[in-house]
Amino acid sequence: MAAVPATRTLRWALAAIAGGLVLAAPFVVTDKYLLRILTFVGINLIMVAGLSLLFGYAGQISLGHAAFYGLGAYTSGFLAKLGVAWPLALVAGVAAAALGGLLLALPSLRLKGHYLAMATLGFGEIMLFFFTETEVITGGSNGLRGIPPAGLGPLVADTPQTKYLLVWAVACVVLLLAANVVRRRPGRALRAIHGSEMAAQACGIDTVRMKVQVFVISAALGGLSGVLYAHYVGFISPSTFTLHYSLVLVTMVALGGMGSLAGAVAGTVLLTMLPYADAIIPGLSRATVELLQDWESDIHGMVLILVMLFMPGGLAGWGRSFLARISVRRARSAGGDA
């Protein structure tokens, strides 16, 4: 029992340290390459926070989240190119993704397990086809070029530092909100649905409504992430919004551990940075980096298989058993002293 306040303090300390590092990074890091990768980490975190609520907490798998990423990116990118102010384009991008999520959720959340996986996978493929074929809007397979950077009036995020700060400000807000949700009543309800839908209903939880809500929220966060991506990179093409990306996202949540937001964050940071390990490990040989990049998909697949086989609790499961071991040891040594 004494371990509870200890882990809570530890959690706050870790969060504070992480927050400080995030804020300090653009002022300390002079390497543009590293800053770019860290920005991508932020973009992926927003996406994975949503998927963690849906998949990690409520247990509803989606193999089509790249579609929401694309809906946000294309909607916002297209509107911004027409001259629509960025905040409006952002809202439209998020709304488009949320609407897509709602349209998919209403019929398919009656499905469970493999069937839901197949339905979302199909949705992802349909949307990918849509992104490729509606050339008037999306530029087809040539992509959409010249998307202006995010900004509001004279404030424009057009330097690597300001882009980084924008992305991470959004990511921090999203993570804080998500952390709040999962610790409270709605988070408990989501985990209850994951545990047993019938028991959740027997407790008075409107499971259908909850599932639709979390799906829409998750899709909206995917859209938000896509909007930030489009205005960060300035160019988007269908090759980004593929099944592979959806699978990478699922792998990030699984690696982190089901039902753990902190784990999902860790999984995202690790897997996003892995192909660019040379940015943080200075001495890494060019050959090694090339190997990591060439085999990126294979590594993701291997990670997913290994996690499922050997650490179903993911990184969070490891962390928990580590903390439990510490508290047991502490309790033992305290007992020995007495």
Binding site: R188, R191, M198, A199, A200, A202, C203, I205, D206, T207
Partner: protein, 242 residues
């Protein structure tokens, strides 16, 4: 308190219940006994709203709740302790209990929820010692206690119990039924589905004997225990008295 009126129900195109009626007066414990597949659990599911009847009505204190969906029926006061307990295995005992009171939000309800928690710990002291433990790691008996505790957290007017003795040792069954006796003493209305007819009739006020989707016999527990047919079919030695 609870009235089930001429219910026909089934799964898909397979009919299970053929016009079953049941009535539980306030503070009464009634039991449904009968062989496997007689429709006992199905009737409970209709009462809990998990299964919509094809026809017939479910009334709570005179009010028709037939069309109230299961998650909202909890709010009306009909609460199910599902067969096989169906706890949230990965969540702690405390969280399972909190989820039981899911619909009771707001400042006014908080104090009542807290006192109900205390009552659950008073009924099942072992749960208070296991608060932080994941529900899945409890023993079978403790899990059944938690399932009942979780249902009590919803402040039920009618508690529906589906096979609470399933897979438990006689000693644990005794403990659980003594708690059910206490709950009956406190005025809670209960409908108990039980495989072990002798056990059920020993504790309940009245009983309904079901066979292939129909009530074939009803009466006070004493009457049923004395009935030759019941004794022969449901209380026979081959049925096992453990």
């Amino acid at each position: 308190m609870l009235e089930i009126d001429a219910v026909f129900a089934g799964y898909g195109r397979v009919p299970v219940l053929h016009g079953v009626s049941l009535r539980a007066a306030p503070g009464e414990m009634v039991t449904l006994v009968g062989a496997n597949g007689a429709g006992k659990s199905t009737l409970l599911k209709v009462a809990a709203g998990v299964l919509a009847p094809q026809s017939g009505r479910v009334l709570l204190a005179g009010e028709d709740v037939t069309r109230v969906p299961s998650h909202r029926r909890v709010g009306t006061g009909i609460v199910l302790v599902p067969e096989g307990r169906m706890l949230f295995a990965g969540m702690s005992v405390a969280e399972n209990l909190t989820l039981g009171a899911y619909l009771r939000t707001g400042a006014a309800a908080r104090r009542a929820v807290e006192s109900d928690r205390e009552r659950v710990f008073d009924l099942f002291p072992v749960l208070a010692d296991r608060l932080e433990q994941p529900a899945g790691t409890l023993s079978g008996g403790e899990q059944q206690m938690l399932a009942i505790g979780r249902a009590l957290m919803a402040d039920p007017k009618v508690l529906l119990l589906d096979e609470p003795s399933l897979g438990l040792a006689p000693k644990v069954i005794g403990e659980i039924f003594s708690v059910l006796d206490r709950l009956r003493g406190s005025g809670l209305t209960m409908v108990l589905v039980e495989q072990d007819a002798r056990l059920a009739l020993k504790h309940a006020d009245r009983g309904y004997v079901m066979r292939t989707g129909e009530v074939v016999l009803e009466g006070s527990s004493a009457e049923l225990l004395a009935n030759d047919d019941v004794r022969l079919i449901y209380l026979g030695a081959w049925h096992g008295t453990e």
